[in-house]
């Protein structure tokens, strides 16, 4: 009965089998391994379909498709596991980027710009956190509201204009390389992946996040400061969005109010594809990392085949639904077969 370990959907009662299957079997049947299989299949398909795919620099370029979104997805994963969601992340990027742009026009240096980007992200996160955990409002509507508000402020400031003229050394965050083909963003992505894995899977805080997502009432009765944990998670998501804003602004070298439009959906897709239950309570950072690679490989591979971006989004949407539906269908068929 490896079904219980499938993290795809917590939409059924926990089945506690009499005897656990062997650890090896459980690992093989896990969502992450399934997803890794998909990633490898896409990788092989891409390298067969396009002669330009297997090139170190091309692959390095491909990582830009997901590094910024994945940084946010790590924090979002924690938030979703705790049973909340933040749809304002892309709007936070827009606001943070606009603030940095405005500062750059007055001649602010790179350290100041970074501080502003992170500060605005953190402030937005605190605002969300205050509304959700302080005022006990449903996060999905609150963040739809703050999404309009944050991006709306960018539109008020910028209108149909754009900010440019960033200092030259600011370009490092989005365009610089640490060693060989490994970009600054990719290294940052790896570091954050490790940091968030530790935070979620090896600390008390991480256990509290899971507990809240599984049963908020039980968590409260066990003495877990539910509101404080949620507040911290919103802050963290805001901060990660600020970091993503620094990277993205640095990479593009300009700011428009429509920057990162629609990213909130891609980030949520990444999180859900990574096996995090949208109902909360289960998921791993490892899954999100693999999902980031899957999405990056799909978009990059299709890009090499000259598939337009909007058609790629069909594949992303299908990937999301099919990967979630397949285990459910498989379980149904299995259940039918055993009857």
């Amino acid at each position: 009965m490896s079904d219980a370990s499938t993290t795809a959907s917590r939409s059924e009662k926990r089945i506690i089998p009499d005897r656990l299957s062997t650890p090896f079997k459980r690992v093989m049947a896990s969502w992450e391994v399934l997803l890794l299989g998909v990633a490898i299949a896409i990788f092989i398909f891409n390298s067969l379909a396009s002669p330009y795919f297997l090139d170190a620099w091309n692959l390095s370029d491909a990582t830009y498709n997901f590094t910024e979104k994945a940084m946010i997805a790590f924090a979002m994963a924690l938030l979703v596991i705790a049973g909340e969601i933040d749809l304002s992340v892309a709007a936070i990027i827009a606001l943070a980027s606009t603030a940095m742009g405005a500062a750059a026009q007055t001649g602010a240096g790179t350290p100041v710009l970074v501080a502003i980007g992170l500060g605005v992200g953190l402030a937005c996160g605190i605002f969300n956190g205050f509304l959700v955990s302080g005022m006990k409002l449903p996060s999905i509507v609150v963040t739809i509201g703050t999404m309009s508000l944050f991006r709306g402020i960018s539109y008020i400031v910028l209108g149909d204009q754009a900010y440019g003229n960033y200092p030259e050394d600011f370009a490092f965050f989005g365009q610089g390389y640490v060693v060989w083909v490994f970009s600054f963003e990719f290294v940052l992505f790896v570091l954050f992946a490790i940091a968030f894995s530790i935070l979620l899977h090896a600390t008390n805080f991480g256990r509290q996040v899971f507990t809240i997502g599984n049963n908020e009432f039980a968590a409260r009765f066990s003495g877990i400061p539910v509101e404080r944990v949620k507040f911290i998670l919103f802050m963290l998501t805001g901060l990660m969005s600020g970091i993503a804003a620094v990277c993205l602004t640095s990479r593009l070298g300009s700011t428009r109010p429509s920057i990162a439009q629609g990213w909130e959906l891609e980030v949520v897709t990444m999180v859900v594809l990574g096996g995090v239950s949208i109902l909360g309570g289960s998921g791993t950072i490892g899954g999100v990392v693999i999902a980031a690679f899957v999405m990056g490989l799909v978009t990059f591979g299709l890009g090499l085949l000259n598939v337009p971006g909007i058609v790629m989004s069909i594949f992303i949407g299908l990937l999301l639904i099919v990967t979630i539906a397949l285990p459910i269908v498989a379980r149904r068929l299995k259940a039918m077969g055993s009857k």
């Binding site: 509304l131 703050t146 539109y155 539906a325």
Partner: protein, 334 residues
Amino acid sequence: MSRLLKRRETLLFVIIAIMIAGFATRATGFATPANLANILNDTAILIILALAQMTVILTKSIDLSVAANLAFTGMAVAMLNAAYPDLPLVVLVLTAIAIGAALGVINGYLVWALEIPPIVVTLGTLTIYRGMAFVLSGGAWVNAHQMTPIFLNATRTVVLGLPVLSWIAILIVALVYVILRHTPFGRATYAAGGNPVAAVYAGIDVGWTRFLAFVLSGALAGLSGYLWVARYAVAYVEIANGFELDSVAACVIGGISIAGGVGTVAGAVLGSLFLGVIKNALPVIGISPFTQMAISGTVIILAVVFNARRERSRGRIILRDQAAKETDSEELAA
């Protein structure tokens, strides 16, 4: 409780009236019947989509694919009209409703039969439907000169002082009101969202009710697809981009609880009109239209705060949420 609800809609109505009066002091002519009719006509499509969204939200679900559905259906009927100018308008409108309903069936089936959370399903279909609009059109635009005059002008014809588009919205409002208030399906939507456990014990098929809500939402989105293309006389892939959030916003402002089971048709209509009045007033009173997004964001947040206050004072929200969680797991384990 019905008095409470009544007060809520009355309050919103009063706020809208005060807003209109306030704008009228800044711009004479804002409160004239002609301009108000104009605002109603501008808001007609949002009203229809808000009602579609509301039906789904009542069942404790959400449909983020309404705008993408609108874009795909609008593109499909516009291309159909451009390719076969001889097809009667009735056929095209029915086609739009049928395509929209079919897309709603896909959403509803995934939610009902596979029990995938609605937000995940419609997040996926949102990108798929809009992508399909691109595949269908190849990224090309259908411009006004390619569409037949009757296709474009049918909704502009003025009947009894109002354009047909406004009358269609009024008709849909009446229709949804009757469906929600006076049919078994309508009562089931409130029951399924308000307390799924009790709904199951009362013999209501919660999954099937959600399925039907998605089909209705899809059909209305499809109809809006035709209305949108006819109104703006152009069809391209990005039409109504982000409009799904406007429809959710209209519902939230109108006092429809995102937790399901609470909300009225009047609330959804007033919520839409609230957004419509602001949208139309900004340029008139000389405020940059770029502020509109921030204003609707602020309004949504305030509306949520306000809704939560009201629901908390009834002291039932926690029980209801807990009950819902339990059914979800129980139903699925069965």
